[in-house]
Symmetry: C2
Subunit: 430 residues, 2 copies
């Protein structure tokens, strides 16, 4: 993965070249073991391999080229940050590195030990100077979705130009008002940053691009109802992960192509695992690149993953901005209303109550023909750890078994997880 041609760029970004080289090497090996070893992979997976191999190379080069043209780069860690507005400002919207143990010791000088791996990861990546995305950003947009991130951003702001967007915690009228005000504030921040006045057509363009990306993944997810499963959970997760990194127009075109290939495969009755292989839905915390630990273990345990109920999964693509209403809208205010309506539908565990999520998980399990659900919470993630109890109860009432897992990015518990997951899969087969 490491291209020496990019070294100059990484040096300009003030990365720690040796540490970064080490990271890319580990990642390359990890990717080979988990992805390239798969049997019966789709032709279109070449796109995934290419994007991953160039994630710190060509993609960063593109960001630098965009900057050279005067475009701004916005980083974020959350599906609440409205990409539509970033795109409307002709800025680039990228997810930031938070899926690997790196710089953990350094991170623990700024955030408590009892902080989830995702947060320690982004703090660590920054302090260890190994994330070219963070270094490319003009602004990083944080949000208030959980205590851990909310407070870690205060520390992060000592190193990065941060902007904080507030996300409400209930779904009453005053919450809608708050998010609507925050949409406007973010838009104004973008206007200040870019010097561009955002107009109706700009937002419509942003909505079209973001909806297009969502529809591509919705299409992919619909195809995953087929048995045999036409794509591995690992590859589907990777597609969701890449949706946060790659250029959205290119991504959409490539995933639509991939879906055509999947359709042909389904017609032929082909898949990545035999028909009748136990099908599992993963639900819970986001798995950021390169956190492929759980689907890798699951798919090595005799099951296939058919869905991801997570921010890097269905939570990010379930709801579109209303397309008819967008077409009819004639003012920025109307469009901000539509965006707010869409974002208030997100079933993040930051909301109380969050019963929509319970319904959505039960519906997904049914639609995708999943025989069981694995609830995945990062250790110390309070919102999702708490909801695991409610999800379990909901699924029990529907007769769908659930296994609750809490883990981090370490590899120490892989064997233990494997044992538990294999035992869970066996109960589904009987």
């Amino acid at each position: 993965m490491a291209e020496s041609a990019y070294k100059e760029m990484w040096e300009k970004l003030n990365l720690d070249i040796d540490a970064h080289e080490g990271l890319l090497e580990v990642l390359g090996k990890f990717y080979g073991d988990i992805y390239l070893s798969q049997q019966g992979r789709l032709q279109g997976a070449e796109y995934l391999d290419f994007v991953l191999s160039e994630v710190h190379g060509l993609r960063i080069k593109e960001l630098q080229d965009a900057k050279a043209q005067g475009r701004k780069i916005i980083g974020s860690f959350c599906v609440f940050v409205p990409e539509e507005l970033t795109l409307a400002a002709d800025a680039v919207h990228v997810g930031l590195c938070s899926g690997a143990d790196a710089g953990t010791e350094m991170a623990e000088t700024m955030v408590p030990r009892n902080t989830c791996a995702l947060i320690k990861s982004f703090v660590g990546f920054k302090l260890a100077k190994i994330c070219p995305f963070t270094e490319s950003c003009d602004v990083v947009v944080g949000e208030t979705t959980c205590d851990g991130k909310k407070k870690a951003y205060e520390a992060f702001a000592e190193h990065v130009n941060m902007y904080i967007m507030e996300v409400p915690q209930q779904k009453n009228a005053c919450d809608h008002d708050l998010l609507r005000a925050e949409m406007k504030r973010y838009m104004e921040e973008l206007e200040k940053l870019t010097g561009k006045t955002i107009g109706v057509d700009d937002i419509k363009k942003g909505i079209a691009i973001a909806n297009g990306k969502r529809k591509a993944i919705q299409g992919l997810n619909a195809l995953r109802k087929a048995d045999p499963a036409p794509i591995s959970g690992r590859d589907a997760l990777l597609i969701n992960q890449i949706s946060f990194y790659d250029d959205p127009v290119r991504f959409t075109a490539k995933i639509n192509e991939l879906c055509d290939e999947i359709e042909a495969r389904i017609e032929k009755g082909e898949g990545v695992a035999p028909k009748g292989t136990p099908r599992l839905l993963l639900a819970g915390c986001p798995m950021a690149v390169p956190n492929w630990k759980l689907p890798y273990i699951v798919e090595g345990s005799g099951a296939v993953v058919v869905g991801e109920e997570s921010c890097i999964g269905s939570r990010n693509i379930r709801d579109l901005v209303d397309e008819d209403a967008t077409a009819k809208a004639t003012t920025v205010d109307e469009l901000l209303d539509l965006l707010t309506d869409r974002y208030m539908k997100i079933d993040c565990a930051c909301f109380t109550p969050n019963d929509e999520r319970l319904d959505n998980i039960a519906d997904m399990a049914e639609e995708l023909g999943a025989q069981g659900v694995i609830h995945y919470a990062l250790l110390f993630c309070q919102p999702y750890s708490h909801e695991a109890f409610k999800v379990d109860k909901t699924l029990q009432a529907k007769g769908v078994p659930m296994l609750a897992i809490e883990t981090d990015y370490g590899m120490e518990d892989v064997e233990q997880l494997k044992t538990r997951i294999e035992a869970f899969v066996e109960t589904l087969e009987s």
Copy 2:
């Protein structure tokens, strides 16, 4: 503490009589060791002893009598729930049990293991049926100040009639609007519950009572600037704890009396520890009854506690509702605005940023003549654990040493804490 005359009342409240008896016995012993053993205690501490000895007895009887008269009982766990409005509705406002390990195993069937002791405590008290306050409540008002409580309330609501009040996370205009809307919603909820229409004079009465209580504790805190310290940190904490339980008018009168006694003591140059004893400020998480662990250890380590920067401490009493503006107000809306203004000043770690808290701690340390600060975070409390880093930085810049402690309600770490605190106190003496 256990009065058999109350047994019938506890049975009616459906308490587990044996478990409750056990709790009272432990509490009584604990109180004797920590409180009654103190030398040179104030005469007025008799009030504290009496309230504590009757906290599950006479006070519960009062609540039952109030209920018999048609008054409603409102329980809460947070200083954001506006007592002024509860009082305006002629309802009783009480804090609920959350300061002791009880029913922890039962609690862990509903909330994650990695949850702070305070939350596990209130869930455990309910499941173990040993909190007569919770059982007396018509409604428990929860809030969204931290992920742990926010999500635990969802589980708690399966056992208790809950109402959730949203607290914003920033201090922009839209946050003020949100809290203002929540004030109104809470008022309307009280009107529904009590069948009473809340008018201008009702709220003014509520404000007068709540401000009176705050001014009494402000007066106490001002007297604690004296050296020798005229009251122990343990007793001062107890006063703050009792402020959440006892009748507010009685409490205010008793504390004002106690302050008169303290003034006389200061004039005579008397105190609970010799002049020059190292003075410490405790800052961080609330210590709910009967969580006296830290001040007990500190005051057994050669230091005296001179302030509590916490919700059960200065955070609850620092800011008054504007009294001149209250006097002039002629509408309910104006009064709700004034309440909102007051509550938005709270420097809870739920806010981002929360720089006011840093300034307040530094100011308190200076005003109270504290030579050092102990930052206290409950294990797994993310907001305060994160802020510990910032508080440390702020105090370092002022030359005030800080010791960061994370602990729970268990006694396993007492010796270790004692060692660390003694070493910290020694550095202050040198």
